[in-house]
Amino acid sequence: MLAGRGRNKIRPPRRGLGTGDAVDFDSMWQVLEASLREIHTKNASKLSFEEQYRNAYKLVLKKRGETLYERVKDFEERWLTNEVRPRIIAVAAPVLSLFDTTSSTIATVNEKRLAGERLLRALKQAWEDHNLCMSMTTDVLMYMDRVYCKDFRKPSIFTASMGQFRDCVLRTPVHADNQVSVSQVLNAVILDQVRMDREGDMIDKSLLKSCVYMLEGLYETEEEEEHLKLYLTSFEPEFLRASEEFYRNEGSTLLLDADAGTFCRHAKKRVSEEEDRCRSTLSPLTLRKIKTVVETELIKNHLREVIALEGSGVKYMLDNDRTSDLAMIFDLSARVDPQKTELKKAVQSRIVEQGTDVNNATVAATQAPAKPSAPTGDKADSEDKAPEKPINLQTNAAIGWVDGVLRLKDKYDNFLTEAFQSDQGLQTALTRSFTDFINAFERLSEFVSLFFDENMKKGIKGKTENEVDALLDKGITLLRYIQDKDMFERYYKKHLSRRLLMKRSISMDAERQMISKMKMEVGNTFTQRIEAMFRDMAVSVDLTSQYKRHVAQLGDPDPQRADIEVNVLTSTMWPLEAMAPSYNEGEDRPRCNFPPQIERVKQGFEKFYLDKHSGRKLTWQANMGTADLRAYFHEMKGKKTRELNVSTYAMIILLLFNDLPPGQFLSCEEIQAQTNIPINELTRNLQSLAVASKTQVLTKKPMSKDVKLSDKFYFNEQFYSQFQRVKIGVVTSGNRVEDPIERSETEKKNNDTRAGSIEAAIVRIMKQRKELNHQKLIAEVIQQLTARFKPDINMVKKRIESLIEREYLERIDDTEPAAYRYLA
């Protein structure tokens, strides 16, 4: 209360409480004891709180607090021992005997349960009574708690009596002769109930909960420390142990007779059940612990087996798109192992398996027709069009492979988002396995490039911009996995050049889009040359139109004059050797003889071009061009002219027949002599002119598939085509899968390029570092080059040797490990 402000004299109280009347302790205690008894027998309504309180108050004021405290404790102990304990023991004993002798007597589950519930109920009753009485007693003795207990640091009377309840009721042995205490029986009963609940029986959850409350309300010591709750010290360990056992058994039985999906569903259900149980029946304190138990016993210890389960494990789920099951597996794995090692392993191995399947299927597809194609040379007439077949098949196989890989990728991407919550770790795992199996396939660069080629030529026809975009993106994802990007560049350039020169590409926009995508993915240097190719094409278009204007200005009105369209290509940027694969590099390229009217045009252009750009050299690549001819067929019904679209070589050949009187022939040898077309090109062109059934502008004698030097060729007067315009393709001029010889050649060339880049990288590094030891040098080289390809260590070593020989580097003597020095 607030003190008065005045300094007036303070009057003594009119009637002193502490001094006035002598207090007779014993008589007062008797009154108190009687009323305590009333409280315990629930007859408190007749008592006056004020009277009891006043008595206790006085006793404490009289410094008899200690005696009062001890007396009350005494009283409580007597009460608990004499009144409560016998009741509890009476119900606990039958339970104990039932639990003890489960093996010998046939105690039905029901009996056990009833006895258990009786004990629980009795305990609950006793506990609630005790709690109520003690709270009333505490109220009455509030003054004692406040003054005496605080001053003497005694536990409040409530706490003390709780301890007594613990000692006198729970810790008493059920039988005098054995050591089983009431609390142990209680634990057993609760565990039994929980077990029944787990097995699906109905139990009285609230009853269980109140008993758990009791255990939670009691402490080991009078200090009531949080971690010394009886619940935590006596019940919880037992509970966890029992749960462990339960789930261990359940896990093994479940594994025997359930599939992985069921197992996961069950495990998940169990976990949530246990969570519920902790909330509704037991204490939330146990939540985390029991979860750990379930997770370890049910999930962690069995996860590997579940994932590997034959016929229903992860493999099965992946194969059958069981997204929800996979999500569950993922969830379970995430619980026990943040790394999800097992799941990752399983998924990875499955990807590699499936990827290898795709690889093998493609290899099989490319090899199967390759075998019959080998003997076709001998029995050519037996198989129609056989030489074309394997090529198409192989191209199809390539595209099939890409499609297969993309499908796989789509599938797993889907799993990743749907089932695996886009988990980072799994994503890297997926990427790694894709990289593994894709790179295990040795022709991937070629195939991916072919895939683009095919799509650029045909695939994107009639597709919307978005679809094209998606398609290209897919291709780019594959590109991302490719380790040997230089190989891919090589193939892509080769295929691109064919597309550009033969105008096979459907959409230049798509091509440009593709390049910008590649640029983003792989970097500037990668696309530089490809872009240069496009530039050349654009410049050439300009050049041609300029030339046409130039010719018009010259005023050379030659009606016979052939139009010309030239593509001037920078030789370093274009894979020219790939376009004319039959020449070795050192060898001089044989010039073919153009017919005079063409030669004139050619020279005209050469003059025009060299006037504009002096010092450049033009080399004519006749093998890449096409020509439009107008041919006149005497025998044809209706309109007698047809436009023929042929390759440059075919044009030259056909022009030879212009000068020939009808009925005359040219032998293959003669054609060769007159035109100087390389023999393999010549045969190919003659084949397409004379053998292919729809475009037989020439007839050949003898009629066979192969062209021999002695074969004779006639102009085919009977040629007929319903179309006005006839396109005569040269056999095997399209982009296709390479045969093994071409492949090894490409690889060899690629290795040469690589050697160059490796040397460049070494020199760059050494120039900067001056001195470096061997390991570090190799590591840096690899690091610099991985964006383009994965350098072979032996190759790097050889390059170092070669650089030392050429005195760019020297070995530093007497160093361990070996080191090099840069020689400027």
Binding site: A3, R11, L17, S48, Y57
Partner: protein
């Protein structure tokens, strides 16, 4: 007693004065609060009348004044001091101790 106890209780001094105060105010005093606690079925709780035989009318009047004063200013700050006559100081202190205010 009914579920909702009546809102007013009677405090009786040793010299017979009866003060009828609101239950909320009365419960400011810890002892009276326990006394009136409906879960423990003491005589006072059932009847709503508290005989405070250690406190006389004058003091109890002041106590009641304080109970209301405390209730009113429970959450306020800068509360003006209550007027306490010096001659009642000691008795009020003892009453406060007894009532656990």
């Amino acid at each position: 007693m009914s579920d909702t106890p009546p809102p007013f209780v009677t405090l009786i001094s040793n010299d017979g004065f009866e003060f009828i105060v609101s239950r909320d105010a009365a419960c400011v005093a810890g002892t009276i609060k326990k006394m009136l606690d409906p879960t423990s079925k003491f005589f006072e709780a059932t009847t709503g009348r508290c005989n405070l035989s250690t406190i006389n009318g004058v003091v109890l009047e002041k106590v009641c004044e304080y109970l209301y004063y405390n209730l009113k200013n429970k959450n306020a700050s800068d509360v003006p001091d209550m007027e306490i006559p010096p001659e009642l100081c000691l008795e009020l202190l003892m009453a406060a101790d007894y009532l656990h205010v």
